[in-house]
Symmetry: C2
Subunit: 281 residues, 2 copies
Amino acid sequence: MRIIGSISDIRAIVRAQKKLGKTIGLVPTMGYLHKGHISLVEASVRENDYTIISIFVNPTQFGPNEDYVKYPRNMQKDSQLAEEAGVDVVFAPEAKEIYLDGFKTYVNVEGITKILCGKTRPGHFKGVATIVNKLFNIIEPDKAYFGQKDAQQVAVIKRMAADLNINIEIVACPIVREHDGLAMSSRNTYLSPDERKAALVLSRSLFEAGEMIGSGERRKGIILAQILKNLNCEKLANIEYVDILNADTMGEIKKIEGKVLIALAVKFGTTRLIDNIILEV
Amino acid sequence: MRIIGSISDIRAIVRAQKKLGKTIGLVPTMGYLHKGHISLVEASVRENDYTIISIFVNPTQFGPNEDYVKYPRNMQKDSQLAEEAGVDVVFAPEAKEIYLDGFKTYVNVEGITKILCGKTRPGHFKGVATIVNKLFNIIEPDKAYFGQKDAQQVAVIKRMAADLNINIEIVACPIVREHDGLAMSSRNTYLSPDERKAALVLSRSLFEAGEMIGSGERRKGIILAQILKNLNCEKLANIEYVDILNADTMGEIKKIEGKVLIALAVKFGTTRLIDNIILEV
């Protein structure tokens, strides 16, 4: 497995593989890899001849008061995990390789980026869409893999790909959870032992909502109220949002029907976690 | 020569040509072709194995009070001119093929789109960058050709290509002029005979400015004043802007040095014309 920092080098590698008729899978990440990321790599290795993982903590998707500087990084461990999972090349550029002097161009998916995480993280999805667009242009993969934990990110990327005629298949992979239910996230490392324990309220609330819907409950207000009740019982939890939406369009729904996304964001101390479930009703 | 309306058809054609090892040149246009467009086609035919011209009057780059509906169209004549110039395929999609229901994604080059034409045509360059980005993703050409008459458009596209790592060479071709100096434009067809005559003041003013600089004048204010004096002498001319900028960055300059762009926009009746010259000092 090779680790590449330059755009021209990774392009040469991709060109050579394509000349051999190989298909390319891309797994864009910010590193500090966990089993969620590895599940994306495994899907890519299964479905493509050649798998590239990008590891780049993208400054433009962090707000001024967010955790860009302290975001966890461990290149050595990441390389080892990537190699074990079957990655062919790690693309790990420096920020100055990605953002030229005088950089001024952004890709923005309007509307869909104003809700949920977009409300409290203005500019976040503009940064995400832009870096993913750039990685797509650099690597030109056949397929690209994203985790469903970032449900809104998946919707933004799919919308961008459709709107800009990007000829890459966007694959969303299921959330991978710890044995006790906590959704895998690089930010889980920030949690104190008490917060780590408290954070279980997220998946517990979502699973209970899923059970209520499974038992026939179709009133959105009742489901939301039950989730909020659960979250409010947990003293360390600071709710940012809970919402129930159409899972494909991220549009508002009045009652529980079709493909439904229940998504939430909650802070534990200074650590902001997100989680969600998707249900077919 | 074929005329193609569907994205999947044009993609199949490009794929087949690339499989044969052919290079692809793209000339994006809004049709109503004149010799300026044809010079772009000729450059593409010279430098590529296969040339595609797109003809698409792009609604998202017109403001609500602009000339989208009345913009001149003549597909039959365009096809004939394109074929004579050596075009292999005309890509002429309907608007609904290009803009899906729920379209929400825009590419925006910030800063550079706020000056000159961007001031009076808010959203124009966002529409331009977005459609060109889409055409690039649909056709995936090796090179793409743009007319230097739209100097700011060229700067926006070059900036977008660099910023988003678009692996396509952007080629700017010189302005083509009528025998009397008027820059070729599809919008010249709007001009009444009197306006057509009056419009010569544009190129005349620019050429005189070029002569002043050629004779050693380096004071921006003096050059601008002379151009404005000439334009103001023409009763039918309504000045929108005249400016002298760095030709590469579109940044402000204090004195005439380096690669300099003199650009202007002037209305004659309801017809808005632009023109410019680039000088190396």
